[in-house]
């Protein structure tokens, strides 16, 4: 008989397969798990009767939840089960290399750019040959695929100098590639891009090719050179082409990933004790450190370590922060008392040739010091990250003091800080398998929760599901409502998908704290990188309102004296965080409070509901659709040369290769006009598609007629869902009206509406409200399954879309709206990456300057003198000039052609401070007030 926790333990420690259950949890759960064996539990699902909490909720689940044995002694729980590898592989389509289409696109661009030059004829000839090759490939494939071992002249030259491995692949070998991907065909490899978006990494081997590579080359190695030429994701297509026509056997050079400490975030999250010495060494080497000092005399003298209550990583004498703490403590006292300045915020120090940022946080007489290496976390990021760390500590422990004085808390703090440090350093380390921009030190990740603009229908669906959970209407579950006292009241919840906040019903401060917790501990990252089968987290927290409330305040609106718990449930890429209150009208929570399976199931069923309406599929395609608002991810098309290239390539490649980088196939034919959009919202297809099919934005009207069949299908769908209601029929006819008459009709309609003084949003809502008698889920499905009918929106003025990126930040709410995080990966474009990098660095500058204005207006710091000139600035713009080297990589070699783009930030102080940062091409001047206005329509 196996004791459960032992089995699971060994699974997660030894097996590298995520296909198995990875589970460590908080091992206190062994007190329960000792009672069962695995098999026995499966056989007797009803054996849950002797669980106290089960009895308390009569209608609770009928089986023991699988996370049950992981509940810690203190009632806390962290349970993760990841989807198995095979299953996940399907969803984990890396947007770059596995999706060969994007490769062809880049390829196409390059090729056509050279086609214009004198080499044109050669390339034409090449193309013909290549198609022949393809045919040959196909025939030969059949022969060779049967027995891969009969390929005789394969060479394996392993240069065992510990860094590089060279493999020569026979030219005669042709591999089968289901995806028709050039790389797979030539080398039998599938590649993915590394986190940096440039380096190529081995993702997998085809079955036939395994024999060639496997002893020497492993998954995760970097493909560095082909035939001695350095390759990266930008130039691989060119090189592949050369290889394809070359007669010599290609030689591949792989780089073994150097001693990069590869940390599995899920292991880190679930392990209770940080006994891993290599992790501690890693943190020591990277100069991350935290120290809490109690500076009053009593503690100073009584404590063995001269007032140091906590220090990590240990041992003390190897921690540079511990060794030099005197300097920081002195400065912290001296600055406000003798120099008349505020307390220090950060210090930059040079230690062992490394620049380190040390942040100060005072708590009465105590001082919390946190240090980060400047390379990974710069000064701007340090202050923000440390502010968030303090938020997390206050959320989890109530105050800094109680956090570091709570008995037997060191292990938990160790694991918390190691999680935070590892996550913060991850920005430039290679621990991620997916190449989403997961750094927590990017400008947009530091300041607030990253939200995205969703269409109204989707927002309604999401909020509907969450509200249902929050309403806690349990009449259906139990008959004797009188005797049933609930355990918790849900006081708010928020939903994340793949690291993006979809909706929040939390108070602003709670959201900020929970967001900081999820982000810095890496849970959010886990939900992006991995496909979660199940994630359950249960933790007692101290909500902000409770902490700030004066105990003796007799206010009748004060919140009850109770306890609060954070319940986090995850599935797929969704994370649902729910804040529970025990107190007031609920049963009192006393002593150790483990999670209630009933509430966990409630949250899970809320996520199920979202799956039911197909939100997971909708969001997956929405996230790659780049529509709300649309960004220009091929910036080179805005130059003269680029435009020519686009036009010629568009003409020549029509019918064979689509120029669009969008994945919405039927998208161009389905244009749904928003009623309430003003004339200025430019609705159009993506610029590239536009060009291919119609030439310019002006021919928009054509599209209303271009796809009659699909329109018909679409409208008939709508008819079905609304058919019982005359009101909605009317609105439906309005829509089709629009479609036929295009803009003119819309304008007329708006005029009509304007005169009646009603807002169009209301019209629509009236319609849907009236139709409430229909089965709601039907409508849900019909709405969300129509993925292809996504409307694109533009928020910049001008004929062409000149918007590259934007960030709208509401600091008070703790929310910012920006394009999806992996937009850069989606674009897969050197120039675009350069633009984003410059934009981020500009945002930091602009943000810091605009803070003076905000601080002055909100009057938070009147005590400290402000520069009177800086406080008046409300808009700050920077025009960047792209270096020719980067333009050259995009095929624009003309000297006269320059590429300039603006990064502009503006603060809107009414009604509450809001900052908008926009990055756009210089060709069309933009008014930021207008952009903000148009953006607000999308919300």
């Amino acid at each position: 008989m196996h004791r459960t926790y032992l089995t699971w333990n060994s699974c997660s420690l030894e097996s590298r397969h995520w296909g198995q259950l990875v589970l460590l949890g908080i091992l206190g759960g062994c007190s329960f798990s000792g009672l069962f064996d695995v098999a026995g539990r499966e056989r007797t699902p009803n054996g849950s009767a002797f669980f106290v909490w089960q009895a308390r909720v009569r209608s609770g689940s009928s089986s023991v939840p699988e996370w049950d044995s992981d509940v810690g002694e203190d009632g806390e729980l962290f349970y993760v089960k990841l989807k198995s590898n095979d299953e996940a592989a399907h969803d984990k389509q890396s947007p770059l290399l596995e999706n060969c289409e994007t490769f062809k696109l880049r390829n196409n661009f390059k090729r056509s750019s050279t086609r214009r030059s004198t080499k044109g004829r050669i390339f034409k000839a090449l193309k013909v040959r290549k198609t022949k090759n393809l045919e040959n490939d196909y025939t030969r494939k059949k022969d060779s695929s049967g027995n891969p071992s009969n390929v005789l002249n394969r060479n394996l030259i392993g240069e065992d100098n510990n860094k590089f491995v060279v493999v020569q692949v026979s030219k005669n070998m042709i591999f089968t590639s289901e995806k028709n991907c050039q790389i797979e065909k030539l080398f039998g490899l599938s590649l993915e891009t590394h986190f940096d978006g440039k380096t190529l990494k081995v993702a997998d081997f085809l079955v036939e090719s395994r024999a060639i590579y496997l002893p020497k080359v492993k998954k995760g190695y970097y493909l560095q050179k082909i035939n001695g030429i350095d390759v990266n994701s930008y130039n691989i297509n060119n090189i592949l082409q050369r290889v394809a026509e070359d007669h010599c056997n290609p030689k591949l050079t792989f780089q073994i990933p150097s001693g990069d400490f590869n940390i599995e975030i899920d292991k880190l999250l679930t392990s209770k004790n940080i006994t891993d010495n290599s992790l501690i060494q890693f943190l020591k080497d990277s100069m991350c450190s935290v120290l809490y000092i109690c500076c009053n005399d009593v503690e100073y003298n009584s404590n063995d370590d001269k007032g140091v209550l906590y220090c990590y990583p240990r041992p003390f004498n190897q921690n540079f922060l511990y060794n030099t703490r005197g300097a920081y403590v002195t400065l912290n006292h001296l600055a406000p008392k003798s120099l008349g300045t505020s307390e220090p915020i950060t210090s930059t120090v040079l230690y062992n040739g490394t620049f380190i940022n040390v942040s100060y946080t005072s708590y009465y007489n105590d001082l919390l010091l946190i240090a980060f290496p400047n390379k990974a976390v710069d000064l701007f990021a340090t202050t923000r990250v440390c502010k968030n760390i303090v938020r997390i500590l206050e959320l989890l422990y109530g105050s800094l003091k109680s956090c570091f004085t709570k008995p037997n808390n060191v292990d938990k703090l160790d694991s918390l800080f190691s999680q935070i440090f590892v996550t913060s350093l991850a920005g430039n380390k290679s621990s991620s398998e997916r190449k989403t921009a997961l750094s927590v030190t990017n400008f947009e990740d530091l300041l607030a929760a990253h939200a995205v603009t969703l269409s109204l229908e989707v927002k309604v669906q999401i909020n509907d599901a969450i509200t249902e959970l929050e309403a806690a209407d349990y009449r259906e579950w139990t008959d004797d409502v009188e005797n049933f006292q609930r355990l918790y009241t849900v006081i708010g919840s928020c939903l994340y998908y793949s690291g993006h906040l979809l909706s929040s019903h939390l108070q602003d401060d709670d959201l900020k704290e929970i967001n900081a917790y999820l982000k810095l501990t890496g849970i959010l990252r886990l939900s992006v990188e991995k496909d979660l089968e199940k994630l359950v987290l249960w933790k007692e927290v101290f909500i902000c309102e409770h902490r700030k409330q004066n105990k003796n305040d007799g206010n009748e609106f004060r919140i009850p004296d109770g306890r609060w718990f954070l319940l986090l449930v995850g599935r797929g890429h969704f994370l649902l965080a729910t804040l529970m209150e025990a107190g007031g009208c609920t049963e009192d929570a006393t002593g150790v409070t483990p999670p209630s399976p009933f509430y966990v199931e409630e949250c899970e069923s809320c996520l199920d509901l979202l799956y039911d309406v197909g939100l997971n599929k909708y969001l997956a395609s929405w996230f790659s659709s780049n529509t709300m608002p649309q960004l220009e991810t091929s910036p080179e098309y805005l130059t003269k040369v680029g435009r020519k290239i686009r036009d010629t390539s568009g003409l020549k490649s029509e019918g064979t290769i689509k120029t669009s980088t969008l994945k919405l196939p039927k998208f161009q034919s389905e244009m749904k006009k928003r009623h309430n959009s003003s004339e200025q919202i430019n609705i159009g297809t993506s610029a590239s598609e536009n060009a291919t099919n119609y030439g310019s934005h002006h021919s928009l009207y054509n599209q209303w007629y271009s796809g009659p069949q699909k329109q018909y299908r679409h409208s008939s769908n709508l008819d079905i869902s609304y058919s019982e209601d005359s009101n909605s029929l009317k609105s439906n006819s309005e829509i089709s009206d629009d479609r036929v008459q295009g803009r003119r009709a819309d304008r007329e309609q708006r005029n009509r509406r304007d005169s009646s003084g009603s807002d169009s949003d209301w019209d629509r809502q009236e319609g849907s409200r009236a139709s409430s008698s229909i089965d709601v889920s039907d409508i849900r499905k019909s709405l969300l399954n129509e993925i292809d009918q996504v409307t694109t929106h533009r928020i910049t003025a001008g004929e062409e879309n000149v918007l590259f990126h934007f960030i709208q930040l509401e600091t008070a709410k703790g929310v910012l709206i920006a394009p999806v995080k992996n937009i850069e990966v989606q674009a897969n474009n050197v120039l675009y990456s350069h633009i984003i990098k410059s934009f981020r660095s500009a945002c930091v500058k602009i943000h810091e300057l605009l803070q003076q204005n905000i601080r002055f207006k909100t009057n938070h710091a009147p005590a400290n003198p402000l520069n009177k000139i800086l406080i008046a600035v409300k808009e700050y713009g920077i025009l960047f000039q792209t270096p020719p080297s980067i333009l050259g990589q995009c095929g624009i070699n003309k000297k006269s052609e320059s590429f300039q783009f603006w990064a502009v930030g503006r603060v809107f102080s009414e009604p509450e401070p809001r900052e908008l940062y926009v990055c756009y091409h210089e060709s069309v001047p933009q008014d930021l007030t207008e952009v903000a206005y148009l953006l607000s329509y999308l919300e």
Binding site: A327, L331, L339, K874, L879
Partner: protein, 411 residues
């Protein structure tokens, strides 16, 4: 706003001087000791404190020549220039007593006394961090640029200066009006911009003396051998500076000055008329422009003007001094990014400054600032708030073109 600069002998911890500007109290001796102690302590642990941020301010330690530690504390001003200020203060100390003395620090009391003569210059330098300081007539606008005037007579004056420098066996000579550089001898640009600035400040500090010579050590050119700087007042607010050797004696120089400059009196008077506008009359400006700061980047020279259009001078709400302040703050905090070669970074880890910024602007409720670079010229222009952004760009481009092509412009 407050700026404090403290100099301490690194090894002994003896305070050498402390200068301050703004509404702060004097720093006590014990505080200086503690501040120095922090630096010493961290040095023992192989750790150096580079910079500490406080709210709206910075605290900085900097050790020079392994003998002197400068501590700077600045709040509520242009604290981003604090590191540059400390470096300039150090330059000034060398300027006064030479590098050798400063390295040895043998007789601290003597050095303290010697350094007292450069206090006026130090105070001018401190002014540069005060965002609301331009009430003073001294050229303290920025720390890294030489304030100058663009006048059409510069070429002829250069000939006169060459002649003058030759006759006093000197090499570098210049003419300043209202503390601003008007004309230089032909090899004056051999001097580092900061040395030239120190010369101008020296002339300003010797208020009113008709003819004076001072031994100076040029911090970059000759930190160990002293030169003789001779300042001579020609007219009110007009000075001639020359750096020369020990001969000829002052009395002889007096005669040479008369010989050389007698014929140029009229020309200098004409040049003086340029003063508040600082640009040749052949360059005209749009009425929406409230002020301008034009910078020649390789020469480290800047021309500032807020009296561009005489007619509507009074009608604008903003006071002239305030305009100067705005443009200066705009340059220091923002527009300097357009000229990466002007960035002062000694110790900071060199981040790759690959981002090439070609334009930048601010807009506030009351005014707008726009900066654009074209070749060697960088132009910061202050506009009234009614001018749209794209119009600003057009006008600034026009000005830059004017400055590049106008024949009356001699940098």
């Amino acid at each position: 706003m407050s700026v404090i600069v403290i100099a301490v002998a690194s090894e002994s911890g003896v305070p050498i001087f402390s200068r301050k500007r703004g509404n702060n109290e004097n720093v006590q001796f014990s505080t200086i000791a503690s501040l120095h102690g922090i630096n010493m302590f961290s040095k023992c642990h192989n750790l150096s404190m580079i910079k500490t941020q406080v709210e709206n301010g910075d605290i900085l330690w900097k050790e020079y020549c392994k003998s002197v530690t400068l501590i700077g504390i600045a709040t509520g001003g242009l604290e981003c220039d604090l590191e540059l200020l400390l470096s300039c203060v150090h330059d000034t100390m060398i300027f006064c007593i030479g590098k050798k003395e400063l390295e040895n620090l043998k007789n601290i009391d003597q050095i303290k006394r010697d350094l007292r003569q450069c206090y006026p210059i130090l105070d001018y330098l401190l002014e540069s961090l005060d965002p609301n300081a331009v009430s003073s007539t001294q050229p303290t606008l920025t720390l890294d640029l030489i304030q100058s005037m663009l006048c059409p007579q510069a070429q002829q004056l250069q000939q006169a200066l060459d002649q003058y420098a030759e006759s006093v066996t000197g090499r570098w000579a210049c003419l300043s009006i209202h503390g601003q550089l008007v004309a230089t001898s032909s090899d004056f640009h051999e001097l580092d911009a900061r040395e030239a600035r120190l010369m101008l400040l020296l002339a300003a500090a010797q208020d009113g003396a008709p003819l004076r010579d001072t031994p100076v050590y040029l911090p970059h050119m000759s930190p160990n051998v002293a030169f003789r700087a001779v300042t001579c007042k020609l007219l009110a607010d007009v000075y001639i500076l020359v750096v020369c050797g020990a001969t000829p004696p002052l009395s002889q120089i007096d005669e040479i000055v008369l010989q050389c400059w007698e014929g140029y009196a009229q020309m200098i008077k004409e040049a003086k008329l340029i003063h508040p506008r600082n640009f040749p009359t052949s360059i005209t400006f749009e009425p929406s422009i409230l002020g301008i700061l034009a910078i020649n980047v390789p020469r480290r020279k800047c021309v500032f003007s807020r009296h561009l259009n005489v007619s509507n001078q009074k009608s604008r709400g903003m006071s002239g001094a305030h305009r100067t302040d705005i443009l200066r703050t705009f340059y220091v905090t923002t527009a300097r990014h357009l000229a990466p070669e002007l960035k002062f970074k000694e110790n900071e880890n060199k981040e790759e400054c690959s981002d090439c910024i070609s334009e930048t602007y601010w807009s506030s409720e009351y005014h707008k600032c726009h900066a654009q670079r074209s070749g060697n010229l960088l132009c910061c222009v202050l506009y009234s708030s009614t001018v749209p952004t794209h119009t600003m760009r057009l006008i600034t481009t026009q000005i830059l073109q004017d400055l590049n092509t106008n024949k009356d412009v001699y940098w």
